[in-house]
Every structure is written in C-alpha cells, then in structure tokens.
C-alpha cells in the first residue's frame, strides 16, 4: 500500500511526541511524505478570556495569570518543538517532511485535509503506556491496505487484534488470528470506537467518507491511524 502523505495531527506537542515514532514508521513503510499538523483549538485559545475557566498544569498545579498572549506563546512553543522533533525524525528516516499550524476546530480542519491517499495519525493516550489491543476497522467499500500493518503491530506487541467489519464484509485473507466483530451501522461503529480503551491502537480504512473519519478521530480516545483509500 502507498500513501501520498502521512499527516501527524495533534493539539499539543505532548500528543505529537507520543505518536511521532508511529507516524514516522508508517510514512517510511508507505513511502509517503510526513506532514506535521498542530491544531490550535479556538476553544483552548478562548479559555484565557472565559470567566471561571481554569488552567491546570500537568503536575496538577493551578496556573494563574495566563492570558491570551501567554496561550499564544505556549502554542508557538509547542509548534516549534513539534516541528523540530518532526524534522529530526524525518531526516533520520530519510523522509520528505513539512509542518503547519492551523487554528480552528478539529473536525473541520481534519475534514478539510483528508483526501484520497492520505493517512492520518491522530494521537490519543500517551503511547508510552502499554498497548492493550489493536483494533482494525474496515468498511465494505474500503481497501485493506492497513490490514497488514495492523496485523504486524499486533504481532510485534503480542497484543490481540480485533477486527470490526460491517455485516456484509469479509475479513481480508492472510490476516492472522483476530477477533472479528460486526457493527450494524455507522452509529454503532462510532459507539464502539468511543468505548475503546485509551491504550488501544485504532486503524480505520473506510472508503472516501472523510467526514466519518474526522469524527472517528475526534471520538476515539486512543491513537488512531486513519486511511482514506
């Protein structure tokens, strides 16, 4: 399978750092360009102006005196670190790379970026935590390019592979041992995805319905690899 570009999207550098290794590996495997995307959520930027909104640091300390400029500066810092880390990883893997920042809402931004041949890596829970399972979602009209990668990740981490298929789809041949579940409709699929353990790895390949994939990226609490085939 080839992907023209692999987009690593994150709303902060911490998210990006956790998924960077995975994104680089996929880009190298798929022979694609590696693109970094820092989404500066409007809602986060607005926090500083909201009455009663609170900011809490990663160590659990309340942060005070942070204004919009401070938040902007934090985003700029994250962007710089994201870009630097991306450049190092891409150069080490001999990949073409690029980086951009975009402000807005996640769904809209992702929806606009996903096109055929694009592979999106969206970080969920920190990858340093142990992986629970690999979940592969295949649509009835989508390709099966991610199947091999999913099976490889499951084998490498010695974690189970769960395959979510629509009722009328057949599992791809040669996938190896997997637990097969069938989902009814899209809503059912979204529920299952929202219920996934944050330490799972979700790979989804669903035709050209980019809107659906963007929703999946927002709903899933785990790291996602989404392919528009």
């Amino acid at each position: 399978m080839r992907a023209a570009r692999v987009i690593l999207s994150a709303t902060s550098f911490a998210e990006a750092r956790d998924a960077l290794e995975l994104a680089t590996e996929i880009a190298a495997r798929m022979d694609g360009d590696l693109q970094g995307l820092l989404i500066e959520q409007e809602a986060v930027l607005a926090l500083t102006g909201l009455p009663a909104a609170r900011l809490i640091g990663p160590q659990g300390r309340a942060l005070t005196g942070i204004d919009a400029a401070g938040m902007e500066a934090a985003f700029r810092g994250d962007a710089r670190r994201f870009e630097e880390a991306l450049a190092r990883a891409a150069e080490a893997a001999a990949l073409r790379w690029s980086f951009r920042r975009q402000r807005g809402r996640i769904g809209a931004i992702l929806g606009g970026m996903l096109e055929t041949g694009t592979l999106l890596v969206a970080s969920g829970a920190p990858r340093r935590r142990p992986l629970r399972e690999v979940v592969l979602v295949l649509g009835s009209d989508g390709g099966t390019g991610l199947a091999g990668f999913a099976a490889q990740q499951a084998a490498r981490t010695s974690r189970p592979l769960r395959l979510l298929l629509p009722e009328d789809a057949e599992p791809p041949a040669g996938l190896g041992p997997a637990v097969i579940e069938r989902f009814g409709d899209e809503a059912d699929l979204h529920r299952r995805i929202a219920a996934l353990d944050p330490h799972s790895l979700l790979l989804a390949e669903i035709g050209s319905d980019t809107g659906s994939l963007a929703e999946i990226a927002q709903e899933a609490r785990c790291t996602c690899i989404l392919h528009v085939s």
Binding site: V44, L50, P51, A52, L55
Partner: protein, 813 residues
Amino acid sequence: MAPEPGKPLDASELARGVQDAALDFATTSDLEPLEDWPGQDRALEALRMAAETRFPDFNLFVLGNPGTGRHSAVRAMLSGAAEPMPRPNDWVYVNNFDDARRPRAMDLPPGRATVLKTAVEKLIDDLANEIPAVFESEDYQARRRAIEEAYSDRQEKAMGDLAEKARERGVAIMRTPMGFGVAARRGDEILTPEAYHDLPEETRERIDAAMSEISAELEEILKQVPKGMKDQRREVEALNVEMTEQVVDDALSEVKAEFTGQENALAFLEAMRGDIIENAELFLIREDGATVGAFPVATTKHYAKPQFQRYAVNVMVSQPDGTNRAAPVIEESLPTLGNLIGRIEYAAEQGALVTNFTMIRAGALHRANGGFLVLDARQVLMEPFAWDALKRVLRGGEISIFSPGERLSLISTATLEPDPIPVKLRVVLVGERLLYYLLTALDPEFAKLFKIEADFDDRMPRDADSAKLFARLAGSIVRREELRPLDAPGVRRLLLESTRLSDDSERFSLNLGRLSDILREADHWAGSAKAETIAAEHIDKAIDAAERRAGRLRELSHEMIARGTMMIDTEGARVGQINALSVLEIGQSRFGRPSRVSARVRVGSGKVVDIERETELGGPIHSKGVMILSGYLAGHYAPDDPMSLWASLVFEQSYGGVEGDSASAAELFALLSALSELPIDQSFAVTGSVNQFGDIQAIGGVNEKIEGFFDVCAERGLTGKQGVLIPESNVKHLVLRRRVVEAVEAGQFRVIPIATIDQGIALLTGREAGVRGADGRFPEGSVNALVEARLQDFAERRRAFGLKNNGLGQGKS
C-alpha cells in the same frame, strides 16, 4: 722438611700440589657424584637453619665470592626444605561491591582459585542467557503488564469518571499546550463570555461551583500521577528482584555446592548474589545482532564483556592442582619494585588512566608466599624503592601494592587501595661480603630482619680426604656440564690449579665457577685433540690459553722492561738500588713485575722522605710501611745519638700510584745499602713487608711477583744467580708455574725465604749483617756496623754544624 730461611727452596716446595693424595681411579666416571658442597659446612648449616626455622625475622643473607656455589646450594637446600612443607593457599582479588576502590583479598585452599574463577565465569555466562530469558518470558511480561495496566487503568478510570462527571455538570476538560483547561460548556461548545453573562446568577454560581469542583478533582488526579508512577516502578522493581532472585539462586546453588565449607568463597558468592540482583539490568544489555560470528549467542563468552568485569575473580597466586609441588621456591632475577610487590596496571580511556581490581598483578612476594624467595642483593639495592619495599613487607608481614609514581605524587589519577595480603615466607639474599658488611653497618633494619648469614668460604684445607672430595666434585661438574670425564692426572693438575687460585698450596679454592670454566675449556681442547678424556695437558692448555688471552698488558709491561724503557737491572750491583716487586690486577689479568726502588741519604734532621707520599702518589698503607722502617732504623741503630739522617725513597719510573707495604722490606734494604755504602746484588728481587723489629712479614700475590721477575730474567737469559727473596711465612703460599719450577730444578733460578732483615741484607750485599755484641757494638765491617757508623757520623756532623751556627764552634771566642 721445613724450609730454612736464607737457603734457596727446593723445586718440590714451589708447587706441592697433591702428590700425596691417593687418587686411585682411572677417570671421574668411576667416582660417585658429589651432591654436596665441600668445605661449606658452616654456610650449609646456616642455610638449613634458615630453611627450617619458623621465626619471621630469621631471613638469610648468603655471602661469599661469586663462583663458590652459593646459588646452587641455595636452590638445592631450599628445594629440599620446601618438599615436606604444606602447599600455601591460593590468593585472589575480587571486587568490593561496597567500594570498588578497595578490592578484597581472599585466600582459598590450594588449587581452588582457578576453580572459583571458572565457576564464576560459567555462572555469569549462564545468567547472561537466563536473566534476559526471564524478562522476556510470558510470565514476566504478563505480570509486568498487569502492574502497569492496573496503574494505567486506575488513572484512566479516574480521568474517565471525571470527564463523565464534568460532562454531566456542564464542564469541559480540554488539553492545552500548558496542561489542561477547564471551562463551562453548552452541548459540544465552550460557553462564550457573553453567553455566560447572560445566564442567571444561580446558574452561573452552579457552573462556577462545578468548575471549581472539577478543577480540584483534576488537580488531585494529576498530583497523584507521579506518586502512582513511583508506586508502579516500585512494584515493577520488586517483580524484577523476585524474578532475578529465583534465577540467580538456582544458578548459584551449583557454585556454592562446589565450595561447601569455604567461608571466604561463600561470603563472596553471597555478596555477588546481592550485587547481581541489584544490577540485573546489566544482563539485559544487548549487542546489535543476535549472533557473534558463526556462533549462536548462547556460547558467547559473556563473562568477558565489560559490564560483567565486576564479577571477575583475579587470581593472584594459585597452586596448580594435580601436582605434588610443595611450598614454592621463587627466584626473582629482576627485583624491580613492581616485580617484587606486584603492580596495579592502568589503561587509557578517553585521555584518562583507569584501573580496576582485575588489573592488579602479582609480584614475586605473592608467588613465594608460604615458601622461599631468593634475590640477588646487589640488584635489589640498585632498583629504586625495591629494598625499602622488601623491608616493609618483612616488617609488617603483609604485602601492600602501591605505585611509585603515585607515592611521589608524580601522577594523580584514580587508583586502588587493595587489601594487603598477609605474607609468611623466608627471604634469601645472595650477595658479596662487602654488601653484607655495609648493610650491617649502615642499615639498622637489616640486622633485625636478616638474622642469619651463610658465609660461603673461598677455600678449604688440602689433605688426602679433601682431595678425594674434590675429585668427586670435579666429576660432578663434568657430568652436569656434559663434558668428557677427567682422568686422574687431569684431576691432579686441576687440584694444583685450585691451590693456585686460592693463593695457598695448603688450600683448595672453592671457586667452582672458575674451575668449571677451566674444565669446559679443557674439554674443548680435549675435543680438538680427539681425546676421550680430559687429561692434564688439556688443563694446562686451558690455563695457558686463558692467561694468554688476558696477557696483553703483562706482555706490554715486560716489553717496556725488555726494551729498556723501564730501567730494571737483573745483574751487577749498585748502592742504594734494589728490585722491588708488585702485582697489577686489571680485569682478568693479574701479573707481577719488578720496580726499581732507590734510596739516597745525607745528614739531616731524622726525616725519611717518602717521595711517593710527598707527591701524593703513595697510599696510606705504603706511607705506614715507610714510617715503620724509619722506626726500625731509629730503634736498631745509634740509640744514644739523635737521628740525623735525611733519606729519600722512591719507586723509580712509577707514575700511577703506589699502595701497600709489600715493598717496605725492599725499601729498607735500599736504605741500608745507601747508609752502609755496600752495593746490592741486582740479580735479586725482594718482596716482603717489615716491622719495627726487622721481621719480614707475609705479603700477597707471591706467585705472580716471583713469576714477574723470573720472566724478565728469562727474557734476558737466566744466569743461575737470579732469584727472589720472599718472606718465610709465604712459603706455604707457593704454587709457581712449571716454567719457574723447571728453572729452579735446573739450578737457573732461586727462590729464597727470609725471616729477618739481617738475613736479607746479608744475601743482597754478600756481607754478614752482624749481631750487636756484649760491648754494644756490631762486628766490624758488618753491614749493621757500617750503617751505625754512618748514622753516628751524621749525628756528629750535625752537632758540629749546630755549634758552628751558634758561635760555639771551633775558632770562635
């Protein structure tokens, strides 16, 4: 028959050898080898004492001249003494896991050090395979995952519950670049300020309370994360220890079983166990690639890897198993400080010098521990710090390794302070007598640490029994050196030469080295002659060849005399002139030669001028000799008159310095000749020292001196009148070369012992010396009378001179 002073000796007395010994064998092959050292009973007793006694300060100094068998005797005696002694323990250095700078010394039963080393290497190899396997096992992975998932689940549940609660309370939690943000929400959107302000107050309060509550809970959850991580780590560590302990204990039990009852080894293994468990991650370090060359990983020598060096066993001393060797006897031929006490080696790493306990090296003292150490005294004293270190070890009873560079603060680098190793051994120093006496006089510690001396004699009395022993000794030498056997005449010749080497016809030399040299060269000549045995002629040839090789200077000296450059008379007579004799020893060359001594006299104030002394060419002993003969003159002649002699004595044509008093008799004869105005027969040469009573005393080198004068006379043609006057007490030292003996036999040369000055002056002047009679006078015309008359005349003249100068002389009022 005892020699008669003043009468020429018979040829048979000039090289008596061992004609009286019954050497009743054909060759030395017929004789029992001699494993002993004849004539060295005193030294051997001392050696035995030092070898058998248990006191630590009874170390031994073996003194004597080179070639007397000191080293071979030491080796043989110590080897014999070491045989029944128990094998000493092995010694190793191991890591001190609490302080790597202080390696631990450990002793083990003999032969067990290498067993421990091998066992530990195998243990490390096993653990290098087994520990990673444990950590890769399903069981470990599952248990570790369970721990991590438990913490992760707790964290996630807390966050998940909070997120749910927040949603229900209308609060959104967002990730931000700074951590988390908590804000009010309406549906999926964040509540704008305008919308917030539009809310009823009650709603706003409710929202504010919810946000405070959610924020507080979020803060609490986040604060618990580090603690949770720490607790998780602790649990994982405990799991790691538990898994490692199992593997280590299983592997270690085999090794411990091999060392049951050996507390040292068991304690070390226990300490190693603790360190392995604490540092199990060392065993998880992987090289790139699963194989090394063609061998699968399981057979790689893991113990050799740097991370496992801390578990190595550095064997310092080990007594090999499977042999019957007893206590060690070690000879260190290069006793540098490092070779004696061991050394700590360093390696360069990135510009710095580093070391560890595996780089400690044993020295000779370690190897000899429990046994004997033989050292050359001169070499020990010449090596910097070696003597001091040796004494320190003997004093303290332990070996502490240090580096001289560090001691002098010349290098400053991380170093080690290994445990000292207790030592129990006997040190044997072998050296010259002078060194022994200097050490005794100048080093107060020496006498405390080296209480026994084994003094190897240079010679032993010659008799029939010792001659037979000597023959056996010669037989042992030829066997050891794989030479032809010596026939009986050859033995006799060798015995004669042995007496020559000892400068005494009544003593055999115990310079076994020199005798061995003669035999080896004689064997060479025997081989050239295709002989089956070494005969007397081969011994002669060896001796002559050696003398010829070393004879360039002797020939040069004689050539100067033969060509008249050095003026020596060997016939005629002259007043105040005599041939004295001296010995020159340069390198391997030792030869005698005549020197002209002359004396001049006149009236004076009683001074005998020693020109050698005046020009600082005479040594103190020579000056003493001249003063003694002055004393003789003063005591023997004109006792009632003031000594009014002025005399000068000199060694003519001597510019290199004169020492010793062996020419003092000759000097006195020259003086007496000058005083009596009687000429001295120049056919004679004289050697001997004189005392104040006119007795002639023994001197050294009598053989070379006689031969030196003989060769000069022989060069010019022997007249039959020539000869040498020697002290009577030197007759027993005569072992002259055959050429002299044959000349004496043929009546062409004479060797005449004298006991007094009177005997000598009579021979030299042909005039009776004279004995003072009852009237207090010497017989008229005798030498002594003429001498006394001259001295009295000097006294009278001096008196007259004095009166004249004072105006009291004749013709003055």
